[in-house]
């Protein structure tokens, strides 16, 4: 029998990769241009370059960054996102402060916070993998959590009681806040997990095509549990950092946290429908958002203006990437 690879097939097989490469170049070039423009703006802004300000940016980026990185597997797996970020983080912070006020050993505090977050993750994973909408599920669980925390604390602010864990989130190592190290380490860890482990690859494949993933023997429940567990760990770290930095937390603190985290993930370019994105890009998205907020603050922009510009930046990023991807 003769070979049957036709010229049309060859053409179709050859050219698309070139197109893909061009698209990739465009996708890389666009953020470089954006960074260049923002850098120009930043360095012409009085007070931007001093060490205290740069440190403030890094600290600000680290909490949102850890959460954005933790959220990325949920989005990558096709489960959209969690709308219970604020409540989960507050729970972690409250537990940390409670343990601290009771004089618990730091290891016990960390383990308790982690355990609570993992239990929460498992509950949400079971519900979502049973077929319920992840956005609604996390919103509902978040609402329940908020109610329970408000009831338990009687809507009061909980403090560390003097026996705090300030070292956990406020220590400075080689001139860099320790929370930045957590952020970088967590980003590297999750990036490696997504790229190099079976679980991580299954997460991406599930988001790329859930039906194909099931046919390939990938368990939706296992993937769902993994992504919510990672998210829980991220919330635990963020909660511990915030508790130690602030030393007091109320159930309704950090009201913009959820939207900040979503913005970082979206600006980072993770596809909302799943299957495409990376933890590193979400981390960069968080840094970008912190950077933008800081520049606007130094220019004495009012809260309203800042929200408008940040919202526009998210929109521009999402639309820009969509157009570039369509072109490629």
């Amino acid at each position: 029998m003769s070979t049957v690879q036709g010229p049309a097939q060859v053409a179709a097989a050859v050219d698309p990769e070139t197109a893909s490469q061009r698209g990739s170049v465009a996708l890389i070039a666009a953020p470089v241009v954006v960074v260049f423009v923002l850098a120009s703006v930043a360095f012409t802004t009085p007070g931007f370059g001093n060490s205290a300000n740069l440190r403030a940016i890094l600290v600000s980026a680290s909490v949102v960054g850890v959460l954005a990185v933790a959220m990325t597997p949920i989005t990558l797996s096709g489960n959209f996102f969690s709308l219970g970020v604020q409540q989960s983080v507050v729970l972690a912070a409250l537990l940390s402060l409670h343990g601290s006020s009771q004089g618990w050993h730091p290891v016990r505090i960390v383990l308790t916070v982690l355990l609570a977050q993992l239990v929460l993750a498992c509950v949400q994973a079971v519900i979502v993998s049973a077929g319920l909408n992840p956005v609604i599920t996390t919103l509902a669980v978040g609402s329940v959590l908020y109610g329970l925390m408000s009831k338990q604390t009687e809507a009061a602010t909980l403090t560390s009681g003097g026996n705090d864990m300030t070292w956990w989130g406020s220590a400075v190592v080689w001139g860099v806040p320790v929370s930045v190290f957590y952020f970088v380490a967590f980003t590297v860890l999750i990036s490696l997990l997504l790229r190099m482990t079976v679980t991580g690859r299954h997460i991406t494949l599930m988001g790329a095509n859930a039906e194909s993933a099931k046919t390939a023997g990938i368990s939706p429940r296992a993937v769902c549990t993994a992504v919510f567990a990672i998210f829980g760990v991220g919330c635990a770290i963020a909660g511990l950092i915030l508790a130690s930095q602030i030393g007091q937390v109320a159930a309704n603190d950090f009201p913009t946290l959820t939207i900040d985290v979503l913005a970082a993930v979206l600006v980072g370019g993770t596809a909302i429908a799943g299957g495409h994105g990376s933890a590193t890009r979400s981390a960069l998205g968080a840094v970008f958002m912190a950077f933008l907020s800081n520049v606007l603050l130094l220019h004495d922009s009012g809260t309203g203006t800042r929200f408008v510009i940040i919202g526009a930046a998210v929109l521009a990023s999402v639309v820009g990437r969509h157009l570039l991807r369509r072109e490629s």
Binding site: D15, T215, G217, E327
Partner: protein, 514 residues
């Protein structure tokens, strides 16, 4: 040369005196670096059925998209009834009288037939009464041979063939004069195909112009007046169907001769590789027991809903409520979940590769490794070199371009996508391969290649179950064929005991003998 298919029959003749309905001149289209259309010159006369043929990736789909207003041509002109038109949106396309009947159904299952007919239609205003809609719906349904269907029927209660005919009626509701059929019969049974072809021919006789895209060459000779072949983004001179035969058509499409379609059969041993004992599952009317020997290809023939596909899904572990016993090399295999089947060496390739056979935006390499990542990992960490090595092995076996492993599989042609969908199972070293509709939407060249690969796998000791609604395919490829009808096995015998006619008769269960 042996090629499957019905004996060519003359389509209704059409004179060159008929006015030109559609002219495409010098159409070119690029997607980035991809030159999808290099030079398309195309004409279509009033009342004509023009078959549009070509290999996967030749440019047919892009051409259809240009006409449907879904892609903008970079250069060239389009005329409808002699008037230049710009088709920059689906609405402009619709206003110019062009409508596309897609392979994938676009009807909304929970709406009534009448509601589906007029969704998005520009010719029905909001002032139309229910009675008036119903009357118009009845008229349209009669045109497509659905006069037995009540317009108030919920669409999900229709058969697959009826839904396909409803799709046709939908475009008629838009008063289209140029109808483009994009593989309308790809997912249909023989009986349903017959109904669709009859309707297509009738529409042409009513003066509508038809562009008919298909990979099923016998259909071309049944209904087309002329054939335009697109090769490598260029259109060739149209030819009258009566001047062609199947062999000449394939040669024109491929640009070379295809020697054989089906590979030779080898002798098969007596060792039972897969044994199904009393399998019951949703869609099966009675327990099914079958045995497949090592190196054997067993065909499961049947129309949609006959049980042929259902038994494959059950064996693959994809159907809840499956009971009965499955043995691979004498070892019992659980039917609960896909993972157990994979661990027992059972590979499964569905009929709808885009839905559950491939990951379109993911690289070929990651597609190939998706079912067996665990086997190239240690402590759940993937060994990249081992993954690449195994993926290369699968790529070589299925003649997938090894230098393109990082290319998203969705950017490859349909034939190459199907090879990836099959090739991804090589890494689990399967003992049994279950395949539904192995060549659906695949051009004639890639089809022959896939048959060759399947036979090679069998020669290496694998056993294959193929479920297909294409009886010619099963007759040409398989060592044995079992027929299904309404959830039951009606016959099971070796290839020598079947003729193509007897197989077709059995599949139709003597409702419409060939």
């Amino acid at each position: 040369m042996t090629v499957p298919g019905a004996v060519p029959s003359a389509a209704a003749s059409l004179t060159d005196a008929e006015p030109l309905r559609l002219e495409m001149t010098g159409i070119r289209k690029r997607y980035g670096a991809v030159r999808a259309l290099r030079e398309i010159n195309f004409e279509l006369r009033a009342g004509e059925v023009m078959a549009l043929l070509g290999e996967n990736g030749a440019g047919k789909s892009t051409m259809v998209k240009v006409l449907a207003g879904l892609a903008h041509a970079d250069s060239g002109s389009i005329r409808v009834d002699g008037t230049p038109v710009s088709l920059h949106s689906p609405r402009q396309s619709q206003e110019s009288g062009v409508a596309v009947v897609q392979q994938e159904h676009s009807s909304v299952p929970c709406l009534t037939v009448a509601e589906n007919l007029f969704i998005g239609s520009q010719v029905v205003s909001g002032l139309w009464t229910r009675r008036r809609l119903r009357a118009r719906a009845l008229e349209l349904l009669e045109t497509v041979g659905l006069d037995h269907v009540d317009p108030s029927t919920i669409t999900e209660n229709l058969t697959v063939a009826e839904v396909q005919l409803l799709e046709i009626a939908r475009v008629l509701a838009r008063d289209a004069k140029i109808l483009i059929f994009d593989e309308p019969t790809a997912a249909l049974s023989d009986e349903a195909i017959e109904r669709v072809l009859t309707v297509v021919r009738r529409l042409a006789e009513q003066g509508r112009s038809i562009i008919y895209v298909t990979h099923r060459l016998p259909e071309v000779f049944r209904i087309a007046d002329r054939v335009t072949v697109v090769r490598n983004g260029r259109s060739l001179e149209p030819k009258r169907t009566s001047d062609l035969d199947v062999a000449a058509l394939i040669t024109t499409m491929l640009g070379r001769e295809l020697e054989t379609m089906f590979p030779a059969r080898a002798s098969i041993g007596s060792h039972a590789r897969l044994t199904l004992d009393g399998i019951t599952a949703p869609g099966l009317a009675e327990p099914v027991s079958l045995a497949v020997r090592r190196g054997e290809i067993l065909g499961l023939a049947g129309q949609l809903g006959s049980g042929a596909s259902e038994i494959l899904k059950s064996v693959a572990g994809l159907t809840d409520g499956t009971s009965g016993r499955i043995f691979v090399d004498g070892e019992s295999v659980s039917t609960a979940g896909r993972r157990a089947g994979i661990e027992a060496g059972i590979a499964y390739c569905s009929s709808d590769r885009k839905r559950d056979g491939i990951f379109g935006n993911v690289s070929i390499l990651e597609n190939l490794s998706s079912p067996w990542l665990g086997s190239v990992s240690r402590h759940r960490v993937v060994s990249m070199p081992a993954e690449r090595r195994e993926a290369l092995r699968a790529a070589r076996m299925f003649a997938i371009d090894e230098t393109r492993l990082k290319t998203p599989v969705g950017m490859m042609s349909g034939g190459n996508q199907q090879k990836v969908a099959l090739g991804r199972w090589i890494g689990i070293s399967p003992k049994v391969l279950l395949v539904e509709e192995p060549t659906r939407g695949v051009d004639v060249g890639a089809r022959a290649e896939i048959y060759k690969h399947l036979r090679t796998l069998c020669d290496d000791g694998m056993s294959i179950l193929v479920a297909s609604s294409d009886t010619a395919e099963l007759f040409g490829l398989c060592d044995s064929i079992a027929t299904f009808y309404r959830g039951r096995v009606t016959a099971n015998q070796s290839h020598e005991q079947w003729s193509e006619q007897s197989l077709l008769r059995e599949v139709m269960h003597q409702e419409g003998a060939a």
